[in-house]
Amino acid sequence: MSYMNRRDFLKSSSALLAASTLPLSLIEIAYADTSQNFTFAYISDAHIQHIKGKEFVRNWDRGLIRAVAETNLMDPKPDFVMFGGDMGQLGKREEINHGLELLAPLTYQKHFVIGEHDYYLDLGEYWQKIIGPLHYSFDHKGVHFVVLNSILTYDDWTYNRWPSAEERMLQMADLDNPNGSPFMVGEKQRAWLKQDLAKINHATPLVVFSHSPLQKIYRGWNFWTEDAEQVQALLAPFKKVTVLYGHVHQIQYNQIGTISFHSAMATAWPWPYPATYAQAQSFLPKLTVEMNRADPFFERDATGWQYIDVYSGHVREHYQLAENTRRTVAFNPKTGQPEDTRYQAPDRRLLSQNHY
């Protein structure tokens, strides 16, 4: 309220009213020069899983179908859609093809991030053939966007450890597998990133997409990128940086220096917060107000997708949750960090946000 004038408040209240009847409306509150604002949608972690022939796991299909349908109904329209990785479960061509088929009805331009479930069968060969490069950058309305392939790992694990590509994929697919290996961006790609950013003015807002978090949360489940600090160091000179990542199937957000971090929900299934594993220590950012504990009886509960307002170079992330109250995490210029617009204060949190 404090940063809205009365007219803006009335405008947003009527939008909120519309939102309750038309849940897909975009609520846009202008904080600065409204002509600079734009939105994009972010769909991640579909985990399309092939059974046999033309059969796929129904539950995961439904999550992606729902996200696509809702994104298409958005008004105003997002400028583009980012898919955040893990299109398939075991990197099979059938899974990538079926995922693309389910994404095809999207009426917007699409960009893609690769996830480990898409990569470790053929090391991204089919992905590059049918979708595009694994790391790249583009500019949109004054914002520089970078897409990284953050799910690489040590060469020895990738090339020498496993008897077959299928076995390698299976080993990386299990989140809690002690035979897995930590994710990394790697030296070669960091050199590319350094070169890519060299030509960008430090005042230009920067949005970086990765599949794994470019911060260290819990190594045991690969909520982790081994060279996160080196990547953060390359982003640090920029005044407004946002890192958006998938992989974790839950709401997380954080602020490190000038870098804001936000995660994406999965369309397939939610994951527990690492702190719920009683045998290990994890480091979820204190800032994060956790998503609701999922109710297993509603198969879409704690799954969803998000649309993102980019205003004045910072992002407001709107979580579109299938069976929960929608949430917004936005950069608070007063505190200099992303905060939940409803639940941030400890006394405003819900019973269901208590994980144990």
Binding site: Q49, Q89, P272, A294, F297, E299, H355
Partner: protein
């Protein structure tokens, strides 16, 4: 005839026992016994982990571990508890069967099926050290 044979066999065994008699108590177990019993338990835990990560419990290739890494968010320490959607106080195995039927699209296991026991052994093992809170939500 058969009965007479059996009773003479019992007498025979009885006299052997008298000869070998020494006091034995239930609290006489050794570190070797404890290791044996713990190892037996861990064998079943391991079988449970294998089932938990396999595609064999259901029909669609989905494994328990996909949603529950390290069996997290299964909360065995809170069972039995009232499940609103079932309408009664349910034991853990009933919820395991719910997961087998729904996300895994499989068939229920009997409560005393060795596979169900193994699943519970594994789930509980991953939650060791957490205090019991039956009924908690």
């Amino acid at each position: 005839m058969q009965r007479r044979l059996k009773s003479s066999a019992i007498i025979c065994v009885g006299s052997l026992l008298v000869l070998a008699w020494r006091p034995t108590f239930a609290d006489e177990f050794t570190p070797a016994d404890i290791k044996l019993w713990q190892d037996e338990y861990l064998v079943v835990v391991k079988q449970g982990r294998e089932l938990f990560t396999s595609d064999k419990l259901g029909t669609n290739g989905v494994a328990c571990v996909q949603c529950h890494p390290n069996a997290a968010n299964t909360h065995p320490e809170t069972y039995p508890k009232f499940q609103k959607q079932l309408g009664h106080v349910a034991p853990l195995w009933e919820m395991i069967n719910w997961c087998i039927r729904n996300p895994l699209e499989g068939k229920d296991l009997a409560a005393d099926d060795p596979r169900m026991i193994a699943l519970q052994a594994y789930i509980t093992y991953e939650r060791r050290g957490v205090k019991l809170e039956p009924g908690k939500h």
